[in-house]
Symmetry: D2
C-alpha cells in the first residue's frame, strides 16, 4: 500500500513553546506514529498550510484538494484540525481513498488518542475500501458526511 | 459494532513485578486502549488462559475456539502472544470476523505499538470485512495464513 | 520531616483543556510527584492563588507570605511559576526552610523536569539546611538571591 | 559541583529485549536523567560491573571502591541495584560524598521513581553535606547504615 500523508497542522501537531508558554503548530507527528508500522508502510509525506483548522481559508482548502488530486498515491491520510475537518473533507476529490485524522489533544501532550485515530485509518485502508472521503476519529471510520463532532463532549459521533 | 475482546495473555499484557524483578501476565490492557474510542464502542471482555503464547496447549486453543464460537458478537479481537498467534488462528471458526492482536513489547513498557496494532484491528473491522480470521500486526491486517513473524527482525511481514 | 506544600499555580500545574484548546491552571501536581516517596513523607497541602506567576499581585504575595508564616511545618515547598519566583521569594519569612519549585514545561506535558526540580528540593531539605528561602531549578538549589532565570535559554543559572 | 556517576547496572538500568522477552542490563540511564539539569552539572560517567546487584561479588565491590577512591571528583553518585546496595555502601571510602541511587522499577518501564531518587541525591549534594556514604531512595537520603530495604513492601525505610 502506497500512502501519502498530508499534514495541514491542527491540534494533533501542536507543541508547547516553553519560552512563550503557548502551544504552536510543530512538525508533523506522522512519522512518530507510522514508525510503529515497523517497515510495512511505504510513505510519502507532505506538510502544507500549518494552521489551526479554525484559521483555514477557502484558498487553503483549494490547495489541499489540489495536493490530493495531484498525488500519485491512491491512499491518503490527512492530518487536520478537528474543528473544520468536515468542511475540508467536503471539497476533496472523491476518486481516491482519503481519510482525515486528528485528535482532541496534541500528540505531544497525550499521544495515545492520536496513535489510535491514525492507526484506525491505516487498518481501514488495509481493507481496500471503495474510493471516498472518510473521517477516522474515536474508533469510527465513516464517510465524511456520516460523522460529526459533538463539541460539548469533545467526541466524534455517527450521524443518524 | 458489537465487539468481544478475548484476552489470552501474551507479551502485550505483561507487567513488571518489582518484588520478583520478573515480567508477569497481568490484567488485560484492552480497556486502557479502547477507552480511546471515547464511547463509540460497545465492548464485552473475556479473559482466559493467561499465558505466554509459547506455553499454550491444544486444550487452550480448543477453549479459545469454543469461546469464539459461543459468542453472540460477530466482531472479535483476540489479544494473544505473537509467537504462536498463527497456530491459534489456524483453528478458529471461520464464520465470524476475528482479528488477532499482539505486540512485541508489553503495553506497560511501551504502549505505542500495542495501541497501534489494536487500533488497526478496529479500523479494519469498521470496514465490515468478509468473515475470516485475520492478524493485525505492524500496520498489516491480513488473513492469518498470509502473514508471518520474522523472528530475527521482530516484525510481522506479508507472505508472498 | 514534616512538609507543607503550597501550590500557587504556575506552568508546572497547567493542563490542556481540549474544548478551548488552551492551557489552564489545574489541580496541584504535587501529590503525583511526592507519591514517589512511597510513604516516607508526611505532607500537608495547600492550594492558593492559582495563577500564572506573571499575573500575581502584591496581595497574592502577601497571602503567600502569610501562609508560610502561619504554618506549623518548618519545611515548605512552594510550587510557583518561574517568571516571578524570585520576586515572591524575596518577601517570604526567613526563619523557615522554604524552597520554591517550578518547571519550564507543565508536568502534564513533560513530567520529567517537574519531578527532577521537586525531588532536588526534597533531597536538599533532607540535609537539614539552615533556615532561608531557596530556589530549586535545573539541579541548582540556591538561596533565592543567588540564582536567576536566563529567559533566552529557559534555564536557571547561578548568580556570580 | 563536579560529579562522577558510576553505573554498576541494577534494575534502574534494565531494558526489555523483545527478541528474548527478558529484561537485561542496558546502558546507564544517568544521562537521560541529568540532562534535566539543563547544563548546570559537570558530569563524568563511568560504567562498570553491569550486573544485577544480587550477582555482585566481593571482587566487584573492591573494583567499585577502587573507582571511588581513584576519582578526582568529590561528589559521586552510584547507580546500583537495591538488593545489595547496603553491602556495597559498607565498603566504600568514607572521605568523599558518595550517594547510592537505585529504583524498584526500571527507568525504561516507569521513569518517575528513578528520576525522583536520582534528583534527591543531587539536591542533597547541593547542600554540601559532610563526607560519607549515603543512600537516596524514596525521598530519604540517609547515611548508608541508617536505612534499609523493606523487602515485603518494596520501600526503603529509616532504621530506628
Amino acid at each position: 500500500m502506497n500512502l501519502l500523508i498530508i499534514s495541514c497542522g491542527g491540534t494533533i501537531n501542536k507543541l508547547y513553546n516553553e519560552l512563550t508558554g503557548e502551544l504552536e503548530i510543530g512538525e508533523s507527528v506522522a512519522q512518530n506514529i507510522y514508525s510503529l508500522a515497523r517497515s510495512n508502510l511505504a510513505v510519502r509525506e507532505l506538510s502544507i498550510i500549518g494552521k489551526d483548522s479554525l484559521d483555514m481559508t477557502d484558498e487553503d482548502r483549494a490547495l489541499l484538494a489540489h495536493s490530493v488530486k495531484d498525488s500519485a498515491e491512491e491512499n491518503i491520510i490527512i492530518l487536520h484540525g478537528t474543528d473544520t475537518m468536515d468542511k475540508s473533507a467536503a471539497v476533496m476529490p472523491k476518486d481516491k481513498k482519503v481519510v482525515f485524522v486528528g485528535s482532541m489533544k496534541p500528540y505531544s501532550i497525550e499521544k495515545d488518542e492520536a496513535i489510535f485515530n491514525f492507526a484506525c485509518a491505516i487498518g481501514f485502508l488495509r481493507s481496500n475500501p471503495v474510493s471516498g472521503v472518510y473521517i477516522s476519529m474515536h474508533s469510527l471510520v465513516l464517510p465524511h458526511d456520516k460523522i460529526y463532532k459533538d463539541r460539548e463532549l469533545g467526541v466524534f459521533k455517527p450521524l443518524k
